[in-house]
């Protein structure tokens, strides 16, 4: 048969549990289809830290580079070079926002335009669609989060269902536990009537959960956001958090591997509007900007299903 497709995945940084699950998706896929997989992770998620790794992978002559980019634009040059050597470049889990032409395709978990409204709906259902709410985000310029926050603001303003909910603050914890914690504490203190917090970032939602638990305010302040089940499990179990959302990072790896192998084998053509079948996921359509989603909606985790997940 043909040589296996050589895939490398470069996560944002090492030691990030979220990406462990994504890697597992790749690994499992390559057990079943014709590919070999490796990963190379920088120590920090700083903008340039992935560049030496990309260069090294180009030199190693891999067929596919899948990457969760640390910067929407700092990687343009080096990714262009990878593509000029015939390497298939996939953005996974996060896109090169506004620089989509520097990668071949993107595998994103869900349609990001639905994330914001989905979160608002979830929180609204917890607080009876009424009261003050706040957002605890990552950094002020985090691209994905900003897209979601914009969508949240839009829903709150324009959807009459949320007319009684008011967004009183958006704060940023920089994805650092210490800063996220102090920001969350400041929210509770500054807004005594706060009913709910949305934290669309894994570090933030865990820190906020810890703060609410410490303050003993689980009854008055509801929290939701995007988190990993492992990170949030104790808070679901003790009732600090009723429900939160995410998608399956595992499926991202799974899909990316199938897509890459398919393209390399000429079975899938990377064209907008095309579609192909992936085992377990069913039919996947290539959307505008060559984006693929692993699932139509966010997965909601609560006490009923959290033990089914381990990532």
């Amino acid at each position: 048969a043909q040589d296996p497709v050589n895939i490398v995945y470069i996560p944002k940084n090492t030691g990030n549990p979220y990406f462990d699950s994504l890697v597992a998706g790749f690994e499992d896929a390559c057990k079943e289809i014709n590919c070999t997989f490796s990963q190379a992770a920088p120590a920090t998620a700083e903008a340039t830290s992935q560049i030496p790794f990309i260069t090294a992978q180009i030199q190693r002559g891999v067929d596919v580079i899948a990457i969760s980019p640390n910067s929407p634009d700092a990687l343009n040059q080096v990714l262009d070079r990878a593509r000029s050597r015939g390497i298939l470049v996939l953005a996974v889990n996060g896109d090169l926002v506004d620089n989509e032409s520097h990668r071949d395709a993107a595998v994103l978990p869900v349609d990001f335009t639905k994330t914001g409204p989905g979160q608002v709906e979830l929180l609204g259902s917890m607080i009876g669609y009424e009261g003050e709410i706040a957002i605890l985000s990552a950094t002020t310029d985090a691209p994905d989060q900003n897209v979601w926050i914009a969508a949240m603001e839009d829903s709150l303003e324009n959807n009459p269902k949320y007319a009684n909910m008011s967004l009183v603050a958006t704060v940023y914890g920089d994805d650092e536990p210490q800063k996220s914690t102090t920001e969350a504490e400041a929210l509770l203190q500054t807004y005594p009537n706060l009913r709910g917090i949305i934290s669309p970032t894994t570090v933030g939602v865990a820190a906020a959960a810890q703060v609410i638990q410490s303050a003993g305010k689980a009854d008055t302040v509801k929290l939701t956001g995007l988190g990993t089940p492992n990170q949030m499990r104790p808070f679901i179990k003790d009732g600090t958090v009723e429900a939160f959302q995410l998608w399956s990072p595992y499926n991202e790896g799974w899909l990316a591997a199938h897509f890459a192998v398919g393209v390399k084998a000429g079975e899938i053509s990377n064209e907008v509007g095309g579609s192909f079948d992936v085992p377990k996921l069913g039919s996947v359509t290539i959307l505008e900007n060559n984006v693929m989603n692993t699932q139509p909606e966010l997965t909601t985790f609560d006490s009923s299903n959290i033990d089914d997940f381990d990532f």
């Binding site: 090492t14 190379a40 920090t44 700083e46 030496p52 260069t55 090294a56 910067s71 310029d141």
Partner: protein, 344 residues
């Protein structure tokens, strides 16, 4: 006028002549091979050879000149700064803030450019910012006589903070195409940043080894007191070096900006460690007075080979951190030991 003091019983003036081995105090010369071989730079060179051999063994993709030169472009930005840092450390000071200076001056450059300033002026402003930060470091160290190592830990936090305040978490891009991608432009088949590094090496090496100021840098580092007594303008030279480092950081920042086509406040985070590592690994004595540009040059290539080799061999970053930390400590200990040995 004064007649000679009679020094009966003392015949020193008669016995003393020229370069005869003296009886007391004038120790034997060390053999020439020792003088040449027992030098930290030799250790660096040997390590470089070993690293090269190991990397070639580890990965069949490593031994490729084009690849190594291309990979070198990420590290020469630090290496250029490390060359200037070498001068500062030889002069008996240290500066841990250059990575932060890189970030802040690059942010100034990008922010001004975004404000509509012509790119040339923005570059000038960035260089001036670098120089000002160098002056600020210099004033704290020289005028207020604060220990440079701890002051620059303060200013490194400060400059990085300013970069963050100025640029936020956004990455700033949109530079004209001629500015972008200097690492993909070549002179004589070598990427321009690497050429610049080579030029800086030669210029600084000549400066340090053959000019009066270069000599005085060694003298200042060996004994600042004695240097001052000998009429050397210690403060002026040290201030010059701090400013030069600020300017070099600004240049390196712009090289990075060109390579990435974008600027963010977190540029070169943690780079100070790498720079210090290059200088130390090159055998420059942490207490000043000894060291060479050649050593830093070799050490820069050593790091390039190690990092590139490990990357291309897919060795996990965890091991890379340990190797780097270990190298730093071992190189300091070895340099120290070698110098202690040649003290007498």
């Amino acid at each position: 006028m004064t007649d000679k003091i009679s020094t009966e019983g003392l015949s020193a003036s008669q016995t003393a002549t020229g370069e005869q081995p003296a009886p007391k105090g004038a120790a034997e010369l060390r053999p020439m091979w020792q003088v040449i071989l027992i030098r930290p730079e030799v250790m660096t060179f040997v390590l470089l050879l070993i690293a090269f051999a190991v990397a070639t063994q580890l990965s069949p993709f490593f031994a490729d000149a084009t690849f190594i030169l291309e990979s070198a472009t990420f590290y020469v930005e630090y290496a250029i700064i490390a060359l200037v840092l070498t001068l500062i450390i030889i002069a008996g000071e240290i500066d841990l803030s250059p990575a932060a200076m890189m970030a802040f001056s690059a942010c100034v450059f990008a922010a001004l450019f975004k404000l509509g300033l012509p790119i040339g002026l923005a570059m000038v402003a960035s260089v001036i910012t670098g120089a000002l930060m160098g002056i600020f470091n210099g004033i704290l160290v020289l005028r207020f006589k604060l220990p440079s190592i701890i002051v620059t830990i303060g200013t490194l936090t400060l400059y990085r903070g300013l970069a963050q305040v100025l640029a936020g978490d956004r990455s700033i891009s949109g530079f004209p195409t001629w500015f972008i991608g200097i690492d993909w432009k070549y002179w004589f088949g070598v990427p321009i940043p690497v050429v610049l590094f080579l030029i800086a090496t030669v210029v600084l090496a000549v400066f340090l080894a053959f000019t009066v100021t270069g000599r005085q840098i060694y003298q200042i580092g060996t004994s600042p007191e004695a240097a001052r007594h000998a009429g050397i303008r210690v403060q002026r030279i040290k201030m010059g070096l701090f400013v030069l480092l600020g300017v070099a950081s600004s240049f390196a920042g712009m090289l990075t900006a060109s390579r990435l086509a974008s600027v963010r406040y977190d540029m070169a985070t943690g780079g100070e460690l790498q720079m210090v590592l290059m200088v130390m690994l090159g055998g420059t004595y942490i207490f000043g007075g000894r060291g060479s540009i050649a050593g830093t040059f070799l050490a820069a290539w050593l790091l390039i080979v190690i990092a590139t080799g490990m990357n291309v061999a897919n060795i996990q970053i965890t091991s890379q951190l340990i190797v780097m930390g270990f190298l730093l400590i071992v190189s300091i200990i070895a340099t120290n030991a070698i110098y202690a040995r040649t003290q007498r």
